[in-house]
């Protein structure tokens, strides 16, 4: 298992990948991607028990679904740096004929992706279906998923959240990226989410809070706690408090960089704050 310093170095490199990918095509979503870099690095390098080779059915391994598909830059970077495809392919992000579509898809056959996402609010249902398939297959591995906090405004989530508890789907760990921001402003300004923890608990879920969602040790500890609570009849929700735009000072704590790419000068500043560690693609 990688040590904390190695994971932090990898996270720095992933941040560089994110910035360079969105800068090159002058489009994409850096804010949420940067906020979840530590989570993705921890998930793919430590938390999940996964196979090296990609098989769609994911039998006998932990599998992951990204519901808020617009943070594809962090997903693609971590998938590539986890060996699912060449890091050189990150050069093709959002370009014509690329497998790295603006939002993740199975359609172009990119290894690591099991469902299309981008139209929000659908990933929880898909993850629960996969979790129930695992039970039918007597597969004791887990299903992980990630959802935006603003995404909880989509009603389908609450259908799924009610279903999961009612059917004792206890082999899922659904993480909510609580960064408090969405396109038009803070979640409080757009449509307040209220007490998310109380809501999940009222629906019958076990909730684990990770208050330092950009601290790798805190993520590892929190996710280990979440894993320890699986198999007890209740679905598990992790509330991951992150800072949007984390690691690039002018992108932090604002919704302004939700879906905007840095210009040349801003890229240079962002890269200077995140020196190359493992080598750029």
């Amino acid at each position: 298992m990688a040590n904390i310093q190695q994971l932090e170095d990898l996270t720095t490199q992933v941040r560089r990948d994110i910035l360079r990918m969105v800068h090159k095509v002058n489009s994409g979503h850096p804010g949420g991607s940067l906020g979840c870099a530590e989570f993705f690095v921890s998930l793919y390098n430590v938390i999940m028990d996964r196979h090296d080779n990609f098989e769609m059915d994911g039998i006998g391994e932990d599998i992951f679904f990204l519901s808020n598909g617009h943070i594809s830059p962090v997903y693609y970077s971590v998938l590539a740096r986890s060996g699912y495809f060449s890091v050189d392919e990150l050069n093709t992000f959002r370009l014509i004929d690329s497998r790295l579509q603006g939002h993740p898809t199975t359609h172009e056959g990119l290894p690591g992706i099991r469902i299309a996402s981008g139209s929000l609010g659908q990933g929880m249902s898909v993850a629960l279906g996969a979790a129930q398939a695992k039970k039918l297959n007597n597969d004791s591995h887990l299903v992980y998923s990630l959802h935006g906090d603003g995404e909880l405004q989509e009603g389908q989530n609450w259908e799924a959240i009610m279903y999961a508890a009612g059917n004792n789907v206890d082999n899922i760990i659904a993480t909510i990226d609580l960064n408090g921001q969405q396109i038009d402003g803070s979640t409080d300004q757009v449509l307040p989410l209220g007490n998310v923890k109380a809501k999940f608990e009222a629906f019958g879920w076990t909730v684990v809070e990770i208050n330092e969602g950009n601290n790798i040790e805190a993520i590892l500890n929190g996710m280990a706690e979440a894993k320890s609570k699986t198999g007890q009849g209740k679905p598990i929700c992790v509330l991951l408090k992150t800072v949007m735009g984390n690691g690039v000072d002018f992108m932090m704590h604002t919704h302004a960089w939700h879906g905007k790419a840095p210009n040349d000068e801003q890229l240079a500043i962002g890269l200077a704050q995140n020196p190359e560690t493992l080598g750029d693609y």
């Binding site: 059915d57 359609h107 469902i115 299309a116 898909v126 279906g129 129930q132 398939a133 039918l136 009610m162």
Partner: protein, 317 residues
């Protein structure tokens, strides 16, 4: 002229239920999901036989489609069951992204399609579902005509790797196709050979087309009747071969003429062999409450309407 015998009227939804029951016994990967309509969809027997493979999702159709998409990851073959309106329009984006674009092996099984749902009225009588589903890339769209064919279609779609929309209905209708038939997706079924007009019909309108052919025969008009159970992929060759012989065509369906079978046929003809065509379909309208027979008459979807459309189209040859 070849004639067909109604061996006893049955609802096509019961054909679905019978097919699902058989699949439960023969294919352990088949799972079923239902949104609080087990009795209406005739899924009771599958549920009783295989409680571990049956998922009651409650009144939450969007979640049902997502769950089904997820269950394919792990090798399951999910059959979802609810009314046609809630199987399509209500969950279009879920089907589009999580099923069709994602290429998932989900079978969307929809009962109570069209006007023949009857008294519940327009909120439940979807007449747009064929159009919605056929526009999705990769989606197969099937509308079988009777109990026996619906059962056979249900069994057949489990062997097709990819998303399928299977449409059927509520009322008891004539059951006239062979028991235990082999169902071939995309292969039209020639029911009556004829020389003056081609009538292609789908779903409940196939029996009406046979009744119309009898009446036309008495009037000295020889109608060729083809059952197009699969609207996508469409059996173009069967249509073109037939109009090559008859020179005109009537399409008949329990659906809006916009987006239905008729439009698919018109495209084939326009790009291959322009041919006079008349549409027996609803005319860009919602339905209303009434008995199935009353509604089919009022909205022009019965044998009489097919006869009149035939007489019109023959004059245009």
């Amino acid at each position: 002229m070849k004639t067909y015998i109604n061996t006893g009227s049955k609802d096509t939804r019961s054909g679905f239920g019978a097919g699902l029951t058989e699949l439960g016994k023969t294919n352990e990967n088949v799972v079923a999901l239902c949104a609080d309509l087990i009795g209406s969809l005739k899924m009771d027997e599958f549920k009783a036989n295989h409680p571990e493979r049956f998922f009651q999702v409650g009144i939450a159709e969007a979640n049902m489609i997502g769950l089904a998409a997820g269950m394919t990851i792990g090798g399951k073959i999910p059959f979802t069951g609810t009314f046609a309106n809630f199987s399509t329009g209500r969950v279009y984006d879920q089907i589009r992204q999580s099923v069709a674009y994602s290429g998932k092996n989900v079978k969307i099984c929809a009962s109570h399609a069209g006007l023949t749902l009857g008294e519940d009225g327009a909120t439940h009588q979807i007449l747009e579902d064929i159009g919605l589903m056929k526009m999705l890339p990769g989606m197969v769209v099937i509308n079988p005509c009777d109990f026996n064919q619906t059962k056979a279609a249900t069994i057949a779609i489990a062997d097709h790797d990819g998303p399928v929309y299977l449409r059927f209905g509520r009322p008891k209708v004539a059951n006239f196709t062979p028991e235990n038939q082999t169902f071939e997706i995309g292969k039209a079924v020639h029911l009556i050979e004829g020389t003056d007009v081609t009538i292609v019909a789908t779903g409940h309108l196939v029996w009406e087309a046979l009744e119309a052919a009898k009446e036309l025969n008495e009037k000295g008009i020889s109608a060729e009747v083809i059952n197009i159970h699969t609207i996508k992929p469409l059996d173009k060759k069967a249509i073109l071969d037939s109009v090559g012989k008859t020179g005109c065509i009537v399409t008949a369906e329990e659906h809006n003429y916009l987006g239905g079978l008729g439009e698919s046929v018109a495209r084939v003809l326009a790009t291959n062999k322009p041919t006079p065509q008349e549409f027996v379909a609803t005319n860009d309208t919602f339905g209303e409450s009434g008995t199935p027979a009353q509604l089919m008459e009022k909205y022009g979807l019965n044998a009489d309407a097919i006869v009149k459309a035939t007489e019109r189209v023959i004059k245009r040859k």
